[in-house]
């Protein structure tokens, strides 16, 4: 299914095309009109996709009374312009807010949850691509199918299993790491297998002739060559875990000792008489990290997206 989505990126873009509008005046006018309309529609979509975020960003810098009583689009009215960073200091370090605890929790949850599946996935993908064993194809198809099993199917029994470990306080991070690793593996193995099996077979044969065994070949040949793929998956997994709510809420809860930032925000959004001054700033605190990762590593992300299947 993937070859269909992968576009050859090498195709050169054409700089100059013959004017397609044809020779007649009417044809040219019509052409221009449709291209105007097309640009307008694209512009409208572009606005709809940015304005809501912009509105929240502007609001997060307004005093709380202003947020509650007037629209953010009036914020730049010169008579009555007032901006502040108070919402951010309140929400991060204030007595009632203290999202900084949750921010740290999200970080503690995310880093190991990204590292573990990458390694387990890489060695499994190697075994599935370059080691010969019976039933290999069936195991691969099984893992592929597991990608789409809704994780809702696993939550109740896993929670029972994890509670029987009797972990408390910050030790509960271990169960969140485990859960995220388990849920990530099908996609991870599938994605890395796609890259790994495309590596030139001669490399591996030559190494085998020289007497290298699998663990040696994996370390010195396969691993260095799939680093871009590891990066792609790493970004995926990072965004997925950082933005996740369900797994975090079930296994880490929503309390300041282990709960992720998303759980705190969802809680805040759900309370009656929404406190927009905290919610707007809080939302942006949680957006900053994935946005930065995304914008700086967009190329890897898109590459992974085009090669990847379905997220489970």
């Amino acid at each position: 299914m993937n070859s269909a989505t992968v576009a050859p990126r090498t195709r050169a873009r054409r700089g100059h095309r013959p004017d397609p509008s044809g020779p007649t005046m009417a044809g040219r006018v019509r052409k221009q009109l449709t291209s105007r309309a097309a640009s307008l529609v694209a512009l409208l979509i572009g606005i709809m996709w940015t304005l809501p975020t912009l509105g929240l960003l502007v609001s997060s810098f307004r005093p709380s009374l202003k947020i509650r009583t007037s629209g953010w689009w009036t914020a730049f009215n010169p008579d009555d312009m007032e901006f502040t960073t108070r919402n951010y200091t309140d929400v991060l370090f204030g007595e009632t807010g203290d999202l900084s605890q949750y921010f740290l929790n999200s970080l503690v949850i995310t880093v190991p949850s990204v590292l573990f599946p990458i390694f387990f996935g890489a060695i499994a993908a190697y075994a599935l691509s370059w080691m010969k064993w019976r039933g290999r194809d069936w195991v691969f198809i099984g893992i592929f199918a597991l990608q789409v099993v809704p994780l809702q199917m696993c939550l109740i029994p896993l929670l029972e299993m994890f509670s029987s470990f009797g972990l408390e306080g910050t030790d509960r991070f271990v169960t969140v790491w485990l859960a995220h690793t388990m849920f990530a593996l099908p996609l991870c193995i599938f994605l890395l297998h796609n890259f790994m099996s495309e590596l030139p077979g001669e490399l591996f044969e030559a190494a085998r002739v020289d007497g290298a065994d699998h663990s040696r070949i994996f370390r010195s040949i396969a691993l260095p060559l799939i680093i871009p793929a590891l990066a792609s998956f790493g970004i995926f997994q990072f965004l997925w875990v950082w933005n996740d709510l369900l797994v975090g809420m079930v296994f880490a809860g929503g309390t300041p000792d282990t709960g992720p930032l998303t759980a705190a925000l969802a809680e805040l959004a759900g309370t009656r008489g929404t406190q927009w001054q905290r919610l707007t700033a809080g939302a942006f605190v949680s957006l900053v990290v994935p946005m930065a990762v995304f914008l700086s590593l967009q190329r890897y992300f898109i590459r992974g997206l085009l090669a990847g299947g379905l997220k489970g």
Binding site: A7, I156, D213, V250, L265, L287, K311
Partner: protein, 325 residues
């Protein structure tokens, strides 16, 4: 500040454990006995992932299936009672109806907008920036997106200044906004939540479809142009047929994502005002109502809905592998 310390310690423990596991596994594979070496190495390479998948996905799924035939605390077999409950309870029927609306509307709208945008900006000036705009919501969490849109929908009584963009726009356009808070009006509110999902997924559709459009051989397009084909005909006769496989993949990926939508409902309405969907109701029943039997039955329903897609995917992949041989 004790908290900070114990958390940072945990992070250190996690990272150290990672390097420990990596070192240990590679060392074991290196030191594997000479006889049957390949088998040992296979064990060390495939073992951890297989174990995690069996313990974390396969076994729990089977157990959930079992729970769906038991009562709330798993002490008694109740046959199909949980499923009967699902199809007779009024609130749950609404949940099923909502899930149906989500599945019908979201993938279609997101794919259509993604495709339209991809065609409109293809080879235009500023294409990269234009793409980033639409793609950006992919980096935003569903919770964040929920908050962003909740703010857009925020309603104030008509005699006050509106702070939500949508009520204000409706006011500017002269609509009557006395109707009250938008997120409380069923079934309109379900569509307002769907907008958020479309907003998130359209960028994904656009990126994949844009790559597929760029892969259409230019000589075909040139030939059609020389024949004087209009843009409309170009779309139906050349663009759409060429990108059809990608459209299918995008459509199915979004469908699976939609089936599992949880965060948006949680953030925006907590499932009140008739907005709940199967994935949210499952969480609600199992973890807030302690009705494990009901939760399990809803999870199984979700799985059954995904099943045709799994079947199709596996079929596609096996065919491709056969062709590759």
């Amino acid at each position: 500040m004790d908290d900070w310390q114990s958390k940072v310690t945990m992070l250190g423990v996690g990272v150290a454990a990672f390097f420990g596991v990596v070192g240990l596994l590679l060392l074991l594979a290196d030191r594997a006995p000479k006889t049957g070496r390949e088998k040992f190495q296979l064990l060390f390479f495939m073992g951890p992932a297989s174990l995690l998948l069996l313990v974390g996905l396969v076994y729990p799924s089977l157990k959930t299936l079992m729970y769906s035939f038991q009562n709330s605390d798993g002490s008694q077999w109740v046959g199909l009672r949980n499923y009967k409950w699902m199809f007779t309870q009024d609130d749950i029927l609404i949940v099923l109806r909502n899930t149906g609306i989500w599945i019908l509307v979201t993938p279609l709208a997101a794919t259509a907008i993604g495709l339209l945008y991809a065609i409109l900006i293809d080879r235009k000036r500023g294409e990269v920036v234009a793409k980033t705009l639409l793609f950006m919501p992919m980096a935003i969490s569903f919770v964040g997106a929920g908050i962003i849109w909740k703010f857009v929908y925020e309603y104030r009584s008509p005699n006050k200044d509106q702070i939500g963009l949508l009520p204000q726009i409706m006011k500017w356009l002269g609509f009557d906004i006395k109707g009250g808070a938008m997120l409380m009006n069923a079934p309109l509110n379900t569509f307002l939540l769907i907008v958020v999902m479309v907003w998130i997924w359209a960028g994904f559709a656009m990126v994949v479809l844009s790559a597929a459009i760029k892969a259409i051989p230019t000589d075909i397009i040139e030939a059609a142009r020389l024949d004087g084909v209009s843009s409309w005909q170009m779309f139906w006769r050349i663009t759409l047929p060429s990108v059809r496989p990608s459209v299918i993949v995008v459509y199915m990926t979004i469908t699976i994502g939609v089936l599992k939508v949880f965060d948006i409902v949680r953030t925006m309405t907590q499932g009140f005002h008739e907005t709940s969907v199967v994935a949210y109701e499952m969480y609600f029943q199992a973890f807030q109502g302690n009705e494990y039997g009901h939760g399990a039955a809803l999870a199984v329903a979700l799985f059954v809905l995904v099943l045709p897609i799994v079947g199709f995917q596996v079929h596609q992949m096996r065919r491709q592998r056969q062709e590759a041989r």
